[in-house]
């Protein structure tokens, strides 16, 4: 085998080894991906709004806290969250959520992880069809309970203060 190809293969192998993810990190990414898909599923696609809200709620722990900042009171508890998602449902049909730049730090010795990500919400004006984008950075605490990774806390981060 020519030396050049061997060097390229070794470099690719080293890069792959350096960027490999632990199984828990892969699970967390898959879980967040599933949450994004769940949020983006509109009730028009077959799920009733209460069921859809409950599905979204299943990604959170019972005592989850969501802090959106900007003077808004924190949302405490999965049931409160489910209620809010159910009420918001008719509006969520007009927006799409994307999650980017996900960084996962496993907490040593605990079934917990700190996650940093950017959530983008693309809203579509139903009457004009015009789209607007709102992006924000969030810090998440995720816990593994009953074999599944769930969000225990979401805190909005003010990039511009």
């Amino acid at each position: 085998m020519p030396a050049g190809i061997l060097v390229v293969l070794l470099a690719a192998g080293f890069f792959g080894w350096r960027t490999r993810e632990a199984p828990d990190e892969r699970e967390i990414r898959a879980r967040l991906d599933a949450l994004r898909n769940e949020v983006n599923t509109s009730t028009k696609e077959g799920l009733g709004s209460a069921l859809h809200a409950a599905q979204v709620g299943s990604y959170f722990t019972d005592d989850a806290v969501v802090e959106l900042g900007e003077g808004a009171a924190p949302i405490k508890g999965r049931e409160t969250l489910i209620g809010m998602v159910a009420r918001l449902q008719p509006r969520t049909a007009a927006f799409r959520m994307d999650l980017d730049d996900i960084t996962i730090d496993m907490v040593p010795g605990a079934n917990a992880a700190d996650v940093l990500l950017t959530a983008s919400f693309t809203r579509r004006n139903i009457s004009t069809g015009e789209e607007s984008l709102d992006a924000r950075e969030y810090a998440l605490v995720m816990n593994k309970t009953d074999g599944s990774w769930r969000i225990a806390r979401i805190t909005a981060i003010d990039t511009l203060r």
Partner: protein, 166 residues
């Protein structure tokens, strides 16, 4: 020369091995350039209008601030959790300065700031803010919006990814 060999020669050149090396070098150079040096971005939203319209394509020079610090008036890309979603804003105040906005007019250390790039102005009022040695104050060019609908404020220097060059 048959048409088949002419096509092969046009596609692969007279020396296919050398052509392959050139293609590989070009691919690697493009990858490195557009991943770490010039980041292509697409502006979304109207906060930088009229300088940048929503949907416009721009490039961010990540090396712009390797040898110097960001300057007032420059348009910069600001990262959120990473480099895939960015704010594009203009620097209007530098570290250590005091900034205030009174009825839409920006004041730096008490002196009014000339902003020829602002075409429409609402009467925004922002009380005086003292920036730390690591903070810049950034804002979009579209001041015809309501202040509540516009993302602007202090940003830590570590979040400035590079300069938007066009």
């Amino acid at each position: 020369m048959s048409s088949g060999s002419l096509t092969r020669r046009l596609v692969f050149g007279s020396d296919p091995r050398r052509t392959l090396v050139r293609v590989l070098v070009l691919a690697i150079l493009s990858f490195v350039t557009f991943k770490w040096v010039l980041i292509p971005i697409r502006a979304e939203g109207i906060s930088m209008a009229p300088t940048y319209q929503s949907g416009s394509f721009n490039l961010v020079n990540r090396l712009a601030y390797q040898r110097r610090k960001p300057a007032r008036g420059e348009i910069v890309a600001i990262k959120l959790a990473g480099p895939h979603v960015l704010y594009v804003k203009r620097i209007i105040a530098l570290p250590g300065e005091h900034i205030a906005i009174e009825r839409g007019q920006v004041y730096i250390n008490g002196a009014p700031l000339s902003e020829p790039y602002v075409k429409d102005r609402r009467g925004w009022d922002i009380p005086e803010i003292a920036l730390t040695s690591r903070e810049y104050f950034v804002i979009g060019d579209n001041r015809g919006m309501r202040a509540a609908d516009h993302d602007f404020g202090r940003v830590d220097v570590s979040r400035i990814l590079g300069r938007v060059i066009f």
